[in-house]
Amino acid sequence: MNLWDYIYNLANIRDRITDWANGLFVGWVVYLLIALVGIVAILIFLVPSLMAFIWIERRLVGRFQVRYGPNRVGPFGILQPVADALKVLAKEALTPADADKWVFWLAPVAIFVPALLVYAVLPFGPRMSFADLNIGILYVVAISSLSAISVFMAGWSSNNKFSLLGAMRAVAQMVSYEVPMVLSILGVIMLAGSLQMSHIVQEQLDRNVWFILIQPLGFMVYFISAVAELNRTPTDIMEAESEIVAGYHTEYSGMKFSLFYLAEYTNALAVSAIISTLFFGGWGTAPILDKLPPWLWFIAKIYFFFAILVWMRGTLPRLRIDQLMGFAWKFLLPLALINLFVTGAEVLVWEEYDLAAGWIIPSMVIINFALAGILIVAWTKLFQLRRAWA
């Protein structure tokens, strides 16, 4: 194996270390060592990515708003996140006198840990998962819904009315959007026949079709509900700067605040990664371009979706809580259910016929896109946001 093989698939490095350690230590030491290597690898990816994301967001939003964005620290302001981090570290982390001290301290940790845990199952490339659980996507859903609890902990313990309002909104919103999100994922799971993240990607590569093409409606529902869970602009009612000051983290300052901030970006990154995995073929790419390492493609897709998130943030106004709830229950949930039925029928066809028959996948693509278009238009006419409450 030459150097390029190690770069092309980083799992080879892990294998090399495993081989080396097996000769030296007993089994459980090797196990711990490899786990440590995996954690370090994820952090090596995560920390620079978070910094890059913060920089990208500030620069892009700056351009959207006809201004420069940070451009003083380092070339193109690229060291701005470092300066931010130093500033935040040097700041005093205040605790309000009437706060519930234990819960107040625990909340930033409790929100950051689940955000980090999601990365354990992300397939960065072939064999490149920290833990390729056979219930991978279920694990992601379970872990990411934990953040509702931490947000409520933060809002409740601050003993601040704005925080409490933000926390109440957060719980209502997160619980509502969990439902269409899980239902929209189900379509992909049925097509792939597995909950395992790497298997979902492999299935897309084997069939030579990204699931976005067969699941346009599922993608739309998942994207919207995932963005809602991220509390970014069109749906950031839980921190709604212009209404409830900063929502659940109004009372937080210093490093405790920045943990909330980092958790938001970590989640945004994870959502981009899950979208790429479920709907855009994960590490896969066009045959000509596969000279580049697969993990690079995966990261490129993550950045692409993050740029879309930034774009949305720079454009859209915020929804009100009742409209947001109405949107989840009246719009996304029925569409996700219909998508589920249609996909179920299609999976039967899928299994019935020989996949080698070239007409199946193209016809499914056409049917699904047409159906998605018709359904979205029809549902919009039925339940316009304006009429949802009037």
Partner: protein
């Protein structure tokens, strides 16, 4: 099953991102629904009306700059009109036209700020505000060219203006007037058809025309409720009777209509300025006025259609160098009176939108 619940009383302000200064609302909430609003004002009270009684008529002009600090020109204009009425001072035609041009430019700048920050309150992350800042900046550049200032102009004088416009002013103004309608189109396209914005503003904070009249509100808020009342038409001052322009009025009286009326008024202002530039006469801009003005004992009230509504100055003279009484009828303050009627029954998020659609400036509310 019924729970025993308590109303949540939340204090919006004086330090809050969306109260446009140091305004304070004590809001009672039932969950997310507003059950009561109590506005608290006075955090920016500087006693301008009392201070003005100790100073000469000329010295009072800079005070008016600091009332509605987003529309200093309009404040200047209303005050000097009152003094001219009190002392019977003539104003040259050129000064009249330039006053109209300045007041309308100021309206564009002020409405730009109002619309931009209104959309910011609606949750659009600063982008619409920045777009509006960009256009407002061009107006501020024109003002800076004229009087050297960008916020507190102190440009109008009793009997005219402090000085004539510089030669480069009219070409720059022409370019601005050419660009502005296109920009308003772009802006309307960007947000007026946005489903989220419509959902957030349509039917929110409805002010019925009858209540609007009874509460004595004025300006875009009154016109948003569908009442066609504009002092430029109803009681023309300066030379407004020589221009052709429309008064846009809303239909439902909701936040969206107030937003829409402001956008349309910017268009009309462009029309007025174009006509004023075409008709602009030559001549002096300042008539002969004694350095220490001593109007005869008496009283005068002059009002104009400022960007925020009817801005009036009521002056009483006892024949000395300083006004005996200096009363400001500030539109922002009076437009706040129907606040409770507009807010009760809506959600917390709507409170911010409704307040944003009123477009208050605290320098004027508290004086």
């Amino acid at each position: 099953m019924s729970f025993k619940t308590e109303p949540l009383v939340v204090n919006f302000g004086p330090q809050h991102p969306s109260t446009h200064g140091v305004f304070r609302m004590i809001v009672s909430l039932d969950g997310e629904v507003i059950t009561d609003v109590e506005p608290v004002m006075g955090y920016l009270h500087r006693g301008v009306e009392k201070l003005a009684e100790e100073r000469t008529y000329l010295q009072n002009i800079p005070f008016t700059d600091r009332l509605d600090y987003l529309a200093s020109m309009s404040n200047n204009l209303a005050y000097v009109l009152a003094v001219e009425k009190l002392a019977n001072i003539p104003v040259s035609p050129r000064a009249q036209y330039l006053r109209v041009i300045m007041a309308e430019l100021q309206r564009i700048a002020s409405h730009a700020m109002a619309v931009g920050s209104f959309l910011n309150d609606a949750g659009a992350f600063f982008t619409p505000l920045m777009y509006m800042f960009r256009e407002r900046e061009k107006v501020l550049d024109l003002f800076e060219m004229t009087c050297g200032q960008r916020l507190t102009y102190n440009y109008m004088r009793v009997g005219g203006l402090s000085h004539d416009i510089p030669p480069e002013f009219l070409p720059a103004l022409g370019k601005f007037l050419d660009d502005m309608p296109g920009f308003i189109d772009e802006y309307e396209q960007l947000l007026s058809e946005n489903e989220i914005l419509l959902a957030r503003t349509k039917g929110v904070g409805i002010l019925p025309p009858q209540l609007a009249i009874n509460a004595s509100v004025s300006g875009p808020i009154l016109r948003g409720s569908g009442v066609k009342w504009d002092l430029r038409k109803a009681d023309p001052y300066c030379v407004y009777d020589r221009f052709d322009f429309d008064i846009p009025v809303g239909k439902a009286g909701d936040s969206y209509d107030r937003f829409w009326v402001r956008l349309q008024e910017m268009r009309q202002s462009v029309r007025i300025i174009q006509q004023a530039v075409a008709q602009l006469p030559q001549g002096e801009v300042r008539s002969q006025v004694p350095a220490t003005l001593r109007p005869q004992a008496g009283e005068a009230y002059a009002h104009i259609e400022a960007p925020k509504g009817e801005l009036g100055f009521y002056l009483v003279s006892d024949g000395s160098v300083a006004p005996y009484r200096f009363k400001i009828r500030s539109p922002s303050f009076i437009n706040l009176t129907p606040l409770r009627e507009m807010m009760v029954g809506y959600k917390v998020a709507d409170a911010v939108i409704i307040l944003g659609s009123l477009d208050i400036v605290l320098g004027e509310v508290d004086r």
